[in-house]
């Protein structure tokens, strides 16, 4: 028995009281602030944001009973028999939407999706992460995540991406546009309870990076969903298109989502060991070893698009080899050295993720792989000392360094054979994801690309 399936474990009267108080908080705030519309948010299996708007008059019933809807229209929600599901709002996530028209305030609330009988719906990614977080808690661990989300601004949503630095000759100068966008975005994120650690340019005015301050995995997955929406929305309001596509431009580095992970046990950083020469606990070493062992299996989830592999194959800041290192940015897992006296910030950084992933599923498989390493007390392989980007195939083979999958197809083969990923995602999502992604790969395989036309048409 994993846990009570809805995740609403019976935590006694204090818990009941808390739920009631949270519900009252939402209802009262909606009333006091004159909220006109409440958006119920959830996520499909591919990680796309879904929203249903209800009126304040419906809110009380929806908080108590959930909102029934036909799931068959949502990717990954369809089933053979019953297609109706319930969206049950999680009142702890209620926020006022900072970009709503002040004359018509809107609220948002993340939902858990359940079956009509109240059991957790197996197609809901948020429930998948809850289940994995609960597993970790039973082993005594809490996982914290801090992603660094990269994305591009383009002049429009057209199929020829035009970076802002090339669109500079009209309107404002590009640096004005970019800094205005950045300021607005940070302001909105803070208003949505998503504090930002840093925000800076990557390569030019067109690529940006926002580093989020760490929080627990479930809240962070919600935050990534909100961030993607906020960045796109604020850009759109200024006539600019924001994209989290992993590799939109040839010859320019792609967008990643390097994610810092740490485990805490009893309020203490479980990755730190003052006795160890390098400060890394055996828990940390086994966690990294678990990530490395299962890295190829989880890549389809952390990098789910055909396009994701264009970023990985090109290198730059993206890892290509299954390896770890302290200060070697070509490694898959990097162990940043904590600042002197800041042992609580001991953490590891997983560098394969890209921002087009489903954060609920991606954090789930990372956590599952790391925990498996801890359970099996896996030893940590040797650190990658050389810059792996420069390796030839022979050197790579001699060093025994595996590559990450080269394309989505290879990643799906690895995933399909993985008992770990099946267990972490549950049968329903595991099987649907494979079917959906195989179809995407097959469709892609049939496309004649610009590369082929340019290379072959003149010569053959």
């Amino acid at each position: 028995m994993e846990t009570n399936e809805t995740g609403e474990a019976d935590r006694g009267p204090a818990h009941e009281h808390r739920s009631r108080d949270q519900r009252d908080y939402v209802l009262r705030t909606v009333e006091e602030r004159g909220v006109r519309l409440v958006r119920l948010w959830f996520t499909d299996v591919l990680g796309r944001h879904k929203s249903v708007a209800i009126s304040p008059a419906e809110l009380e019933t929806v908080l108590d009973e959930g909102l029934q809807f036909d799931g068959s229209a949502i990717d990954g929600f369809s089933r053979v028999q019953e297609s109706d599901v319930l969206a049950r709002p999680d009142p702890s996530t209620f926020e006022l939407l900072p970009w709503a028209d002040p004359a018509e305030p809107s609220g948002t609330i993340f939902c858990n999706i359940t079956n009509l009988d109240g059991t957790s719906f197996e197609g809901d990614p948020r429930q998948v992460l809850r289940r994995n977080v609960d597993r970790a808690r039973r082993a005594g661990f809490e996982m914290f995540c801090a992603p660094e989300v990269e994305f591009f601004y383009f002049a429009d949503a057209g199929l020829q991406p035009t970076p802002l630095d090339r669109a500079s000759y009209f309107d404002l100068t590009t640096s004005d546009v970019a800094s205005d966008l950045r300021k607005q975005t940070l302001h909105m994120l803070e208003a949505l309870s998503i504090p930002v650690e840093y925000s800076f340019h990557e390569d030019g005015p067109s690529q940006h990076e926002i580093d989020l301050q760490y929080t627990d995995a479930l809240t962070m997955a919600d935050s990534v969903m909100t961030l993607r929406l906020a960045v796109k929305k604020i850009a759109m309001d200024r006539g600019v298109y924001a994209t989290f596509m992993p590799k939109p431009l040839n010859g320019v580095q792609g967008s990643g989502m390097h994610t810092h992970l740490s485990l805490f046990r009893d309020g203490k950083n479980a990755f730190h060991d003052p006795e160890a020469a390098d400060g890394l606990s055996s828990t940390a070493r086994s966690f990294i070893a678990g990530l490395l062992r299962h890295a190829r299996e989880i890549t389809a989830v952390t990098n789910q698009l055909v396009n994701s592999y264009k970023r990985i194959n090109e290198g730059y800041e993206a890892p290509r080899y299954v390896s770890w290192a302290r200060n070697n940015r070509s490694a898959l897992v990097r162990v940043p050295i904590p600042k002197f006296g800041k042992i609580e910030s001991t953490r590891i950084e997983y560098r394969a993720l890209d921002p087009a992933c489903n954060p609920y599923l991606a954090f789930s498989v990372l956590l599952a792989a790391g925990l498996r390493g801890i359970e099996e007390e896996l030893p940590l392989p040797a650190e990658a000392a050389v810059n792996l980007y420069d390796l030839s195939r022979e050197e790579q083979r001699d060093l025994g360094v595996a590559s990450l999958p080269h394309n989505l197809n290879e990643a799906l083969d690895e995933m399909e054979a993985s008992e770990l990923v099946r267990h972490a995602l549950g049968d329903h999502i595991f099987e649907w994801f494979l079917r959906n992604k195989r179809a995407e790969w097959n469709e892609y395989q049939r496309q004649v690309t610009t590369f082929e036309l340019e290379t072959y048409l003149p010569n053959w």
Partner: protein
């Protein structure tokens, strides 16, 4: 609003949590002497006496509170199931009683009922500190008259801190008093929420919440002027 007297000191954690969650201000005392010494200027708002462990001490305290010219009321007694006999002939020592194990909803209902009968409304409606105001009835917070958009837990944390200005709390205390059992993330969750609250208070007011190095957090000025 003057605090409720609570016995013993420390009280059972589930009682403390229930009182906090419902926004009662309270103070625990170890015995009658402490109850006299620490009595607030306006007198205790009422008392909740837990009798199931130190029964002798509990009744001694009740006697001191009630056998005086101005008996303290209302007084709610919490007793274990096996202690009903001990209530015989002591009807004058309490106004109502509650049987353990404690059920927060029942306790809350009984306190409210007792206060409505005695014609006193102790539920504090407003908590204020400098530019900050919280209306506990409507769950709304404002700074400089501008409404703050808070999540439920941010509101609860701010409410707790603002109700105890000048006092330093460890992360563990905040976790058990504000979150209770229902949270993800352990003690680090407190840091996360403090950061979010500071961001929402804005640069000008973020300093209302002080980090006390290697201890925890304090809201507002220290009692010792630090």
């Amino acid at each position: 609003m003057e605090p409720l007297l609570v016995f013993p000191n420390p009280p059972p954690p589930e009682l403390a949590q229930c009182l906090d969650l419902n926004g009662w201000s309270w103070k625990a005392v170890a015995d009658a002497e402490a109850a006299m010494a620490e009595e607030p200027d306006g007198g205790w708002a009422g008392a909740i006496v837990v009798a199931d462990t130190d029964t002798e001490g509990a009744f001694a305290l009740c006697r001191r509170l009630r056998k005086v010219e101005m008996p303290l009321q209302p007084l709610l007694l919490l007793v274990g199931g096996g202690q009903l006999d001990s209530l015989d002939l002591r009807d004058d020592l309490f106004d109502d009683f509650c049987l353990g194990p404690l059920r927060p909803a029942e306790l809350q209902a009984r306190i409210k009922h007792l206060f409505s009968r005695s014609g006193r409304e102790v539920r504090p409606e407003m908590v204020g500190y400098g530019p900050l105001a919280l209306n506990l009835e409507t769950y709304q917070a404002a700074i400089d008259g501008q409404p703050l958009d808070l999540t439920y837990m941010e509101y609860e944390l701010l409410k707790f801190l603002a109700a105890h200005p000048g006092k330093v709390f460890t992360r563990e205390t905040l976790l058990s008093r504000v979150w209770g059992y229902d949270y993800y993330g352990g003690a680090r969750t407190v840091d996360v929420h403090i950061r979010r609250l500071r961001a929402k208070l804005g640069e000008e007011h973020a300093g209302l919440i002080h980090t006390v190095r290697s201890v925890g957090y304090r809201f507002g000025q220290s009692r010792w002027g630090g």
